[in-house]
Amino acid sequence: MKKTRRDFLKTLGATAVGAGAMMSGVTVVHSQAKPIVVGAPVPRASAYGQNGERGMILASEEINAAGGVKVGNTKRPLKLEIIDTRDEEPGVPTSEVLLAIEKLILQKKSDMIVGGPCMSECGLAAIDLYAKYKILDIVSIGCYTPGWDKKVGSDLNKYKYSFRESGSVAWYIKEGVDLLHEIKEKFGFNKMFISIDDSAMCRAAADIVKNLAVKDGWEVVGFDKHPIASTDYSVALGDCKKSGAQVLFIWAYSPETSIMLRQWADMEIPALPIGFIGAAEDPGFWEATKGKGAYTIVTLSEAGCTPSNVTPWTKKYYDAFQKRWKVPPRSTGCVSAYEALYVLKDAIERAGSIDTDALIAALEKTNLPAVRGTIRFNENHQIIYGYDPKTSVLGNWVQWQDGQRITIFPQAASMGSIKMPPWLKKA
């Protein structure tokens, strides 16, 4: 009896020691390649989120396949913690989104945050959260509001943790106006009808476009605001036709905008649709409108979503994305989210640590040639857009031609030229 008990104790002790050894062994292995945890808040049920997520997964796979990120002397893999924020969905309060981010920070122990949230309301509210938890954040999907860099710039000391590597509406407006200028020169158009989704952002943006375009010699002959997700645009389009506009400038994100473009074709509105049209960015847009969306000119916000030769990386990225996901990159988010991880890798390797303050300093000095051009941040932590791929990143305006998105602007990315619908030629 006694003996057995002693034996039992012995075995127990041995097991314990063994287990301890194993455990410590595991921890040793672990600490050697402890992954860098990158929290990625993403609205998974929205097109933006899905595509941003794809971009990030692709990038992290590439980086890890190449051995990971070099921190000082060790190579550490990236570990992507993707979480569903559910923003851009009806009935979801922003606090839910913020809670998701808190989960990444507090529970998943993320070292930094990359990705969404996409909705402006959430994005703006999240800046305060990052400042509160003193955690680095690179906004790389959506959230284009000009309020973002204004807010970060207003108190850079407090909000230094936030960087925006996706675009800003301010730049897209400039691009749009420059494109309009080009069209005016080339085709002799000068009358414009504006139609927008009714959200604060679209309204503000459209007002700026309007003012700039008027300065440039355009005449704005009509202005329509429709509620987000309305499904009948006949009245506005009828007005547009009557007004004699030659360009229909649209600023709308809701998927229902594709209805507008179909009605545009059905009613044969003699005005070329140009603008910021969420629905028309999608590769599925042609199918969705049964080809009626042809001739629509839309911005994809970032070079690389269509095959072009901005940098050597651009075409390489396009092919890699298509190979990994069996679909071409959509637009917004695909490229910027992909690049964001490379930006991060670059900054970590230059800083030699994942210490937040060191990283912030490194990020501010980023000068990284990538897919869209060369990535640099301005003093408000906002990525610099421009027309020269050597000093800035480029946008991407495409026209739908025969089921393909053909880049027509800016010049450095351009792969084709603008075509006109038959009924507009007649007119």
Binding site: A45, S46, A47, G91, A229, D232, S234, A236, G238
Partner: protein, 294 residues
């Protein structure tokens, strides 16, 4: 002229969306808050059958209408039958069913299911053509909406006023106890009304959806529209629902033309609130529920 024609189309869209809801409520006093979800479901089913299974379009429509009416019957048989007479529970349960359908459609990654997200889903138009009426260009699908809508409303009227089943349904609507004494089974009537109502939601979907694209979010909007029509017309009153469709349809088009389309939704919701405050029984409602009971 523009206003007249597009107002009419808009009104008929309202009527189509609401007719199923009002039929169910009229017959069995069941507020079917899954109405919008069924509408969207039929849209996706049809799309999926046409595009994934390459079915002939009309067949696809018939099958998905069948599924929808079956689902309507199931909702009653499995859930609502236990909740008769508890209006709050009926609302919550049917809304929950609707949420399951709508959010289920957007589920991703289960069994390779991608989820219906984004603007990819469009039903083909029946005829692709454009016609000019009194100087206004209109596409054939909108004409079909107009004619189809009228046909649906008229046939529902004929069905409820001139067929045996329809008459017994109406009898239930008027006096449930008396109808039960005459041997009309109220559960059966409710099942029939729910399956017809669900099929009508589906029918509305296949008529209206080719105008736009199918998104899950539309489900919420459809539900609010149907509610608006039914409340303004008077819950359960068919003539009222048709009248309210026209009032709303034109009110929205006119307010869009006058103040810009931002106010469209304000008009819609505002109308519901005003009607409920000033004449809760609706324009043509004969509900006694709100009169002082003694």
């Amino acid at each position: 002229m523009n206003i007249l024609i597009y107002g009419t189309v808009n009104s008929i869209i309202f009527a189509l969306v609401a007719v199923g809801f009002t039929l169910v409520y009229g017959v069995s006093r069941l507020p079917n808050f899954a109405h919008g979800a069924l509408y969207v479901l039929v849209g996706f089913l049809t799309w999926s059958m046409v595009n994934d299974f390459k079915l002939f379009y009309p067949f696809a429509i018939l099958i998905s209408l069948g599924i929808s009416s079956l689902l309507g019957a199931l909702i009653y048989r499995l859930v609502l039958i236990r909740l008769r007479g508890l209006p709050t529970s009926e609302i919550i349960a049917s809304f929950a069913v609707g949420l399951i359908i709508l959010e289920g459609l957007r589920l991703q990654g289960i069994g390779g299911f991608k989820g219906f997200i984004g603007p990819f889903y469009v039903l083909p138009s029946f005829i692709d053509a454009k016609i000019k009426i009194a100087g206004v260009l209109i596409d054939a699908q909108r004409l079909i909406v107009m004619l189809g809508g009228l046909a649906v409303v008229v046939s529902i009227w004929l069905f409820t006023h001139h067929t045996k089943t329809g008459l017994s349904l109406r009898a239930i609507a008027q006096d449930e106890q008396a109808a039960m004494m005459l041997g009309i089974d109220s559960d059966r009537a409710a099942i029939i009304s729910l399956s017809i109502g669900s099929a009508l939601a589906g029918l509305a979907a296949v008529i209206i959806l080719p105008l736009g694209n199918v998104t899950a979010e539309a489900g919420y909007r459809i539900l609010i529209n149907a509610l608006a029509v039914c409340i303004i017309g008077g819950l359960g009153s068919w003539a009222g629902a048709v009248l309210a469709s026209f009032v709303l349809g034109f009110a929205m088009i006119i307010s869009t033309a006058l103040f810009g389309s931002v106010w469209e939704s304000v008009v819609l919701v505002g109308a519901i609130i005003l009607i409920l405050i000033f004449k809760p029984s609706g324009l043509l409602g004969k509900q006694k529920e709100l009169e002082e009971r003694v």
